[in-house]
């Protein structure tokens, strides 16, 4: 079951800042700073982190919406960059994306039917009749009946719009879907309906998800493995829900303990300070200014992501000896 579907190695994205003055050295925002991970087929890989950590940029690089500055992406073992125009277009059938904000993810001037049919037209799949059948079937699968085809986005609720977003990603029968904060804008009762839908579709169609979110409860519920990002780097990857192999990295532990728990009021050490400015990240480990367990080495040397157990990697000097 767990053949490797996607391999990311050294993925980097630097946004050049408009140069203020002639003398000023070129400034760069290191949105994503050399991340590597693998996603197995049929797995839900959760990607969490606070705003500005680069998780959304990573998602958009996987879908080739954003061109990476460095690093390589392998889909089913084949490098993604440098593909011919036609090969790239074919690849786009297999990799899809669902966005967070339901209000700007659907073209307001087009009907739902048009939006769902467009990918089929782009890839010249079937004729008019067959396409309409695929669209109505896909709508059924996301819990909407065929009557939605003639409706416009402004007639739908947030939850319904998100279902259409998911349907639009499914219509080309992809293998891998990047889900970028798809539930954060929804109310709890609607959120649970969408999470169930995503889980059901994943099992029925054997899909693989990269599930991006800042809501740790949601990620812990739905993901098999969780990657934690901080200021453009992955600091830890661990198996979700496996009690004894819980998170080790100081930031991950602080992050998960900061989440208010509806079951009991937790007394927890609150992480002080703000996320540093990505234009001039602190030397060594980017987390050292806020880290409760900071050591001298942390200020000078950048830690590497190292395996510390099956499916468990951490990038922190405390665990550098691979104990």
């Amino acid at each position: 079951m767990n053949r490797e579907l996607l391999k990311v190695s050294g993925l980097t994205k630097h946004y050049p800042l408009p140069r203020q003055g002639l003398m000023e050295k070129k400034q760069v925002v290191r949105a994503v700073d050399g991340i590597s991970f693998r996603i197995r087929e049929g797995e839900i890989f959760g990607l969490v982190g606070e705003s500005g950590c680069g998780k959304s940029t990573t998602g958009q690089m996987l879908v080739q919406l954003v061109k990476q500055t460095e690093g390589e992406l392998y889909f089913q073992g084949e490098p993604v960059s440098g593909l011919s125009e036609s090969r790239m277009k074919a690849l786009r059938r297999d990799i899809q994306i669902v966005f967070q904000d339901p209000y700007s993810s659907l073209n307001p001037k087009k009907t739902i039917g048009w939006t769902l049919e467009e990918p089929l037209i782009i890839h010249r799949i079937g004729d008019k009749l067959q396409r309409r059948k695929i669209v109505s079937e896909t709508l059924e699968q996301v819990g909407l009946d065929a009557s939605y085809m003639d409706r416009y986005p402004h007639e739908l609720s947030g939850g319904q719009k998100q279902r259409v977003g998911i349907a639009a990603a499914l219509v080309l029968e992809p293998k891998f879907i990047v889900i970028d904060e798809a539930v954060s804008a929804l109310d709890v009762s609607v959120q649970s309906q969408i999470l169930n839908l995503l889980k059901e579709l994943q099992e029925k169609r054997g899909l693989t998800y990269l599930f991006i979110s800042h809501d740790l409860n949601v990620v812990e519920y739905i993901s098999d493995r969780i990657g934690v990002m901080y200021l453009g780097k992955i600091v830890e990857i661990f198996e979700a829900g496996v009690a004894d192999k819980g998170p080790l990295h100081p930031y991950t532990r602080a992050l998960f303990s900061a989440v208010p728990d509806v079951h009991k009021r937790k007394e927890h050490a609150v992480l002080q300070g703000d996320v540093p400015n990505p234009i001039e990240p602190p030397g060594g480990c980017a987390f050292h200014p806020r880290c409760p367990a900071v050591m001298d080495i942390c200020r000078s040397e950048v830690p590497q992501l190292r395996k510390v157990g099956s499916g468990h990697e951490v990038s922190c000097h405390i665990y550098a000896e691979g104990e």
Binding site: E50, S51, S157, G159, D187, V188, S189, V190, Q191, S192, Q193, L195, N196, K199, H214, L216, N217, V218, E220, Y221, I222, A240, G241, A254, L255, A258, V259, P260, D261, V262, H263, K264, R265, H268, V270, L271, Q272, D274, V275
Partner: protein
């Protein structure tokens, strides 16, 4: 029950769309004691923000109070003239909002906007106001306050801006602070800092707090008592542990079951069927009747009354024995 600082009795607020009035809040009755932190939780459109705005007399658009009473320290707020309002708003009751980044005047230094509050209500000189503002900024955990005083809103992070808002809200030692989803727009670690700060401020200054949120976890973290709202009605009210551990109203129970979390991995989440009725589509009877798994004939006919279902525990449901 400490004697009530704020009392709302049978309040009704309605919007006028075209010719017709649509009730957005009905039968709102609750108290807030001195030093107490009361939470209001509910999904979008349930009227929680409208409740706080009606206390501040800042009802948006065509909304107006059609029935009921709000009293602060015995003084009615509903009938206050504009002149009386300015004595209450900002002095006895203050408010902080959800998105700190847009909540301040972008063209005025943040420190000056805090000092403006002191100048307005404490009748102090400009220099004294500035010093009061600087002290308050330090008290809310901001560092290098002298430099920060002259900075503009766009130069600050979300967390710092919310601390500025809290400093502004507490500088005149108000009796009641209303916090409308103050941490929803913030990251988890920053949210924890702000929730801690609000709790400490409540303990140290004794300012009562009305905390609005859609997040049940945050409610548990901050509030003593909590009110659950649905489609303009209060459906349940109880001390926070009692309500979250023993929910009696089907909607509250449904919400708690549909919350995702590590404990529910691999299992299908419970979902409340259907959708919240829009403002214009609210019919007679219990507002939750359409979506309630154990709804009966009477539920669709009559709006249930709030009944005692335990120590300080009130529920608006026909099925719960009074």
């Amino acid at each position: 029950m400490t004697n009530s600082l704020l009392e709302m009795r049978d309040l009704e607020v309605a919007f006028t769309l075209g010719k017709q009035d649509y009730p957005a809040l009905q039968q709102m009755t609750f108290q807030i004691g001195e030093k107490e932190t009361v939470g209001i939780v509910g999904e979008s459109g349930c009227g929680k923000s409208l409740t706080s705005l009606s206390i501040m007399g800042l009802l948006p658009g065509t909304a107006k109070i059609t029935k009921g009473e709000i009293r602060l320290d015995g003084k009615s707020l509903v009938t206050s003239s504009a002149q009386q309002w300015s004595g209450v708003r900002g002095k006895d009751i203050t408010m902080i909002f959800q998105d700190p980044m847009t909540a301040l005047n972008p063209l005025m230094p943040v420190g000056k906007q805090i000092a403006e509050m002191a100048l307005l209500h404490l009748g102090v000189s400009r220099k004294e106001a500035r010093q009061l503002a600087l002290d308050m900024m330090a008290k809310v955990g901001l560092s290098r306050v002298d430099r920060l005083y002259g900075d503009y809103p766009h130069q600050l992070s979300g967390g710092m801006m919310q601390r500025i808002m809290i400093a502004m809200a507490l500088i005149c030692q108000p009796k009641l602070l209303i916090a409308d989803e103050p941490t929803t727009a913030l990251d988890v670690t920053i949210q924890a800092q702000i929730l801690n700060l609000l709790r400490d401020m409540n303990h140290s200054t004794g300012t009562a707090m009305l905390f609005i949120s859609h997040d049940l976890g945050v409610i548990r973290e901050v509030c003593d008592r909590v009110i659950v709202m649905y489609a303009g009605y209060m459906v349940e009210e109880a001390p926070v542990e009692e309500l979250l551990d023993h929910p009696r109203h089907p909607y509250t129970a449904g919400l708690l079951q549909s919350l995702p979390g590590a404990d529910k991995r691999g299992r299908i989440l419970y979902t409340i069927p259907g959708r919240v009725p829009p403002l214009t589509g609210r019919r007679t009877g219990c507002p939750f009747a359409g979506r309630c798994p154990s709804a009966t004939a009477i539920c669709a006919a009559e709006v249930p009354q709030m009944k005692k279902a335990g120590e300080q525990h009130l529920v608006r449901c026909h099925l719960v024995a009074g």
